[in-house]
């Protein structure tokens, strides 16, 4: 894995990226940018267009390089094989036929894994994910997450050589097999609660009562934390929702805003589903990250790693996040990745889902 981290801008950045692209053995570029990179500029688009190999990527709150999370600069990862890059526009259109754009022959043509980056604020992210699963099933492993900036829900967030896109998804299939480990470490605090009112990512009612009131009552009755609308964002980092699956870890939905009695999450929470209110601690989360690492690496001794960890885990763990990074970056192999706004992964055995507050580790095989 050829990874180059740069804080350069303008011409310097162009030259840096061109140099990585032109390196021996590099036939594609995975670009993980932080908000410090002005991806919306014409200059950046021109840089992408001028690269000698296919490039794809997104903007994330931070990138992971050499064991630390960096909130500025850009990480360029050289890929040994040419990726097959597809852009799905209109990711907020629930009626868009995303499957029609996807090439179902990719697995048959030797592509083993696909990086998936989608605008975290797009309203049809579940539809995009479902289209991927319906088209490919477990024929390919998927790894990636929600792109964008925490304080900007409208800006362009994904890009390829063809430009920078908002409200879109980028799928880049590569021939490298990547084993996936997915864990979050959150445990049920209380539940289940039936979602009796919701609209997309916004939950309005739980068990027939206002969602915020139910949430507030559970947290205040079972922890010593007082919940107000003002401190909701901080409290919610410790107590996300969990959507249950049979014989599988719950899918975490991260509530990040309250408006009236409605709680808005990253990712949809369909009406009728059952959700639990989860809780966790530093140790369980870090252990989960380590478990994800173990699940991905298995017996492999030298494959490099991709890590897509949720930005909210970083915010929750705060200084202890370094311990989580250390759990996945043991120093024996390169680790690159990003802190995402929601994670996309399957472990090759089950359903492809859009996660929150989850650690996704990908271990490259046959490198």
């Amino acid at each position: 894995m050829e990874a180059t981290y740069s804080t350069a801008t303008g011409t310097d950045l162009r030259e840096t990226l061109a140099a990585v692209a032109d390196s021996d053995g590099v036939n594609g570029l995975l670009l993980l940018a932080t908000p410090s990179v002005d991806v919306a500029s014409d200059e950046f688009a021109a840089t992408l267009a001028g690269l000698s190999v296919p490039a794809f990527g997104g903007v994330f709150p931070a990138v992971i390089h050499e064991g630390t999370a960096k909130e500025s600069g850009l990480l360029a990862v050289g890929l040994p094989a040419t990726p097959d890059v597809t852009v799905l526009p209109n990711a907020s259109d629930p009626d868009a036929d995303f499957a029609d754009t996807l090439d179902p022959e990719l697995p048959a043509n030797g592509y083993e894994t696909a990086f998936v980056f989608v605008d975290a604020y797009a309203e049809a992210v579940p539809t995009v994910i479902e289209s991927l699963f319906r088209t490919y099933g477990v024929g390919m492993n998927f790894i990636g997450g929600g792109a964008g900036q925490l304080d900007d829900d409208r800006g362009p967030s994904v890009f390829t050589n063809d430009g920078v896109f908002a409200d879109a998804a980028v799928i880049a299939a590569v021939e490298q097999p990547i084993e996936i480990g997915v864990q979050h470490g959150w445990e049920t605090l209380d539940g289940p609660f039936r979602v009796t009112g919701s609209e997309g990512p916004t939950v309005t009612e739980l068990d027939g009562s206002p969602a915020f009131s139910v949430y507030q009552e559970v947290i205040e009755s079972q922890t010593e934390t007082s919940v107000t609308r003002e401190n909701f964002f901080e409290v919610a980092q410790s107590h996300p929702f969990g959507i249950t699956r049979l014989d599988a870890e719950q899918i975490v939905r991260d509530p990040f805003a309250v408006e009236g009695d409605a709680l808005t999450c990253f990712g949809s929470v369909p009406e009728g589903e059952f959700v639990n209110i989860l809780t966790g601690d530093d140790e369980s989360l870090i252990a989960a990250a380590a478990a994800a690492y173990e699940s991905a690496v298995g017996d492999d001794t030298d494959g490099s790693l991709y890590a897509f960890d949720c930005i909210s885990r970083s915010l929750y763990l705060d200084d202890d996040f370094d311990r989580e990074l250390a759990a996945v970056d043991t120093g024996d192999r390169p680790v690159v990745g990003a802190l995402t706004i929601g994670e996309i992964a399957n472990d090759g055995s089950g359903h492809l889902d859009y996660y929150n507050k989850t650690a996704v580790i990908g271990a490259v095989r046959n490198e």
């Binding site: 022959e105 048959a108 699963f133 490919y136 014989d247 599988a248 055995s349």
Partner: protein, 641 residues
């Protein structure tokens, strides 16, 4: 092992994904997604069972089933299901691949099979069992979409037929006692526009009782009988109004009174029927017999008009049902000959036959007709005219002609001979004058007799004229002849452009008579006759020619002129001889007309005759005969002239 609560939760959440969507495929995809997500399965499929027992995928994950070995293995196992004990006994079924991946086949009652596959882990038996009720719900949803799809196909097929019918068709329902249109095809809109109500509302009002409640159907003849309504009606259309054959067919529905209305435009047909009726009335009232028979020695009457009934003195048309055609022939052998001739020639014209009326009276008939094919058989379509009176007049004329030519001529010869003897012997002047008077009268009588014979010859040639006549040459010839016979008279043929008329020798006879009259009855010392010709001033100039004969005589006596112009002679209004009648008949038989005018000093008689073109005349004359009719010879015209 899943907890009971988790299982119930999961099943409930899966059930949320099961339900009819827009299409069968969407219904299956949505449900399959729910199964896979909530049961954390890797692959899956919903397969529809065909009538032959094979399966076809309705929805699969991945979309291409062969892309997954697990799903392929599971799908292949579908064909290995042992259905000997019934599909219910065989399913659910589990299986595993060589790499220890598990798949599960579940029966979707009356629809097909649900396939689920897990790469890791297994579905426990309790969960598999608990899925049965969900699977039934899924099968029900898929079946409903399947039925809906089939209904949609039927609907589309019906719609295609609906639009393909070239006649106006409307689908109507009766609501609150009012029949309104819920759908109609394009011909309906073209014909009626977009009326609020069903065209022919008056008719529908008659068909639907006023006390009919909502949803009531129109009255029908009775249970088990035809419930269609078919009648003729007049409806307002975009063009005004039209006549339609209206069919109303009730649609079998449980709650509404619904109908399919078909309007067959019979406006043209009705107009043709009315026209035919007019023709029938016309034919019925014709004074000639019009009838249809079969061929053969006897022949059967098929159709007869009232004219034939009257002519043959029958009581009614029924008379012809009981008689063959040969029964009306005096000599039945003539019927066979007539039939043979008509069959051989295809048509006959003006065949004169002797028939016998129903009362047994002999009669003469002139029959024309054609042989035609009708319903794969040959029939004769004939027109019969009673010519008994004409035949009797012909007989009378023949006798009179014989008397004029033979008996009267012989008597005149005897009188002439005796008058000549007296002329030689009588010396007294007063007696000599008597003898001269006798000789002059006998001479006039002789000329009258000859002229009567000439008149007879005019009619022998009939009205058929196949010759053209060069007018200039003819007029010059007539003038030359009279200049020789009457040197005291002056003859002038004016200069005029060459022209030809359709005529034969009778034109020369008429001219000769007119010029002779102009000289003989002229009281001037020098009788003057001028003849000329030109495009007709009275008729269409290009198609008719006027030949004018102008003299300086005393003029034609008014009563004779009036007689000729009216073409009728009465005991009180008659001419003195046959001369002008000869001219009148000759020109009439040639298809022309005669006009008599007072000239400045005498009389001008104009003969108007049909013109033929120079080319036609040249063609008729042939290369070797540039001379046209001169004297008594005409040049034959071809048929198209």
């Amino acid at each position: 092992m899943s907890s009971r609560q988790e299982r119930i939760q999961t099943l409930y959440e899966i059930s949320l994904s099961i339900g009819p969507k827009e299409t069968l495929e969407e219904t299956a995809e949505e449900a399959l997604s729910g199964y896979l997500q909530k049961l954390n399965c890797s692959v899956g499929g919903i397969y529809r069972r065909r009538e032959d027992g094979s399966y076809e995928p309705t929805a699969t994950v991945p979309a291409e089933p062969t892309a997954s070995d697990l799903l392929s293995t599971a799908a292949n196992s579908l064909n290995a299901i042992d259905t000997a004990g019934g599909i219910d006994e065989a399913l659910p079924m589990t299986g595993a691949t060589a790499s220890d991946e598990h798949y599960y086949l579940f029966e979707l009652p009356e629809f097909g099979v649900l396939v689920l596959g897990k790469r890791t882990g297994e579905l426990d038996a309790v969960t598999r069992s608990a899925l049965a009720s969900l699977n039934e719900k899924l099968a029900e949803a898929c079946n409903s979409k399947l039925v809906e799809r089939q209904l949609r196909k039927e609907h589309n097929r019906f719609g295609a037929v609906f639009d393909a019918i070239p006649e106006p068709v409307a689908n109507t329902v009766v609501e609150d006692g009012t029949e309104r249109i819920v759908a109609c095809n394009k011909p309906f809109k073209r014909t009626f526009g977009t009326p609020d109500r069903t065209p022919g509302e008056d008719l529908l009002g008659e068909l639907t009782p006023t006390e009919a409640a909502v949803g009531d159907r129109r009255p029908t003849a009775g249970e088990g009988q035809n419930r269609y309504v078919t009648t003729e009606t007049t409806c307002p259309t975009r063009e005004g109004s039209g006549e339609f054959l209206f069919h109303s067919v009730p649609v079998e529905t449980d709650h509404e009174a619904e109908y399919i209305q078909l309007y067959v435009d019979i406006s043209d047909q009705k107009e043709r029927e009315r026209e035919l009726e007019r023709y029938e009335r016309l034919v019925e009232n014709l004074p000639i017999g019009v009838y249809q028979t079969t061929p053969g020695a006897d022949g059967e009457f098929r159709l007869v008009n009232q004219g034939l009934v009257d002519i043959l003195e029958a009581d009614s048309k029924a008379f012809f049902d009981d008689h063959t055609v040969s029964d009306i022939y005096v000599d039945p052998a003539e019927r066979e000959a007539f039939s043979d001739q008509l069959l051989a020639e295809g048509e006959v014209d003006s065949v004169e036959l002797q028939l016998e009326t129903a009362a047994g009276n002999p009669m003469w008939a002139e029959i024309s007709g054609i042989a035609s094919e009708e319903r794969d058989e040959t029939v004769f379509e004939l027109a019969l005219q009673d010519i008994t009176a004409r035949k009797e007049r012909d007989q009378q004329l023949s006798v009179l002609n014989r008397v004029l030519r033979h008996n009267l001529r012989n008597a005149i010869n005897v009188i002439e001979g005796n008058a000549a003897l007296l002329d030689e012997e009588v010396e007294r002047e007063d007696l000599q004058a008597c003898v001269n008077g006798i000789e002059q009268r006998v001479k006039n009588l002789s000329q009258l007799s000859e002229k009567a014979v000439t008149v007879r010859s005019l009619f022998d040639q009939g009205r058929e004229i196949n010759t053209a006549c060069d007018v200039r040459t003819l007029l010059e010839t007539v003038a030359d002849e009279f200049e020789d016979r009457h040197p005291e008279a002056s003859f002038t043929v004016d200069d005029f452009e060459p022209m030809y008329v359709r005529a034969d020798v009778r034109l020369k006879m008429a001219l000769t008579e007119l010029v002779s009259n102009a000289i003989v009855h002229n009281d001037q010392s020098t009788p003057t006759v001028t003849v000329t010709a030109g495009p007709s001033e009275t008729g269409r100039a290009g198609e008719w020619v006027d030949i004018e004969i102008t003299d300086n005589g005393p003029g034609i006596p008014p009563h004779e002129r009036k007689t000729i112009e009216s073409g009728d002679e009465t005991p009180l209004q008659h001419g003195t001889g046959l001369g002008l009648w000869l001219v009148y008949w000759a020109i009439s038989l040639l298809g022309g007309d005669i006009t008599i005018d007072e000239a400045e000093a005498g009389t001008r008689i104009t003969l108007t005759l049909p013109r033929v073109t120079v080319d036609a005349a040249d063609e008729a004359s042939g290369d070797d005969n540039d001379e046209m009719l001169v004297g008594d010879v005409g040049t034959e015209l071809t048929e198209d002239e």
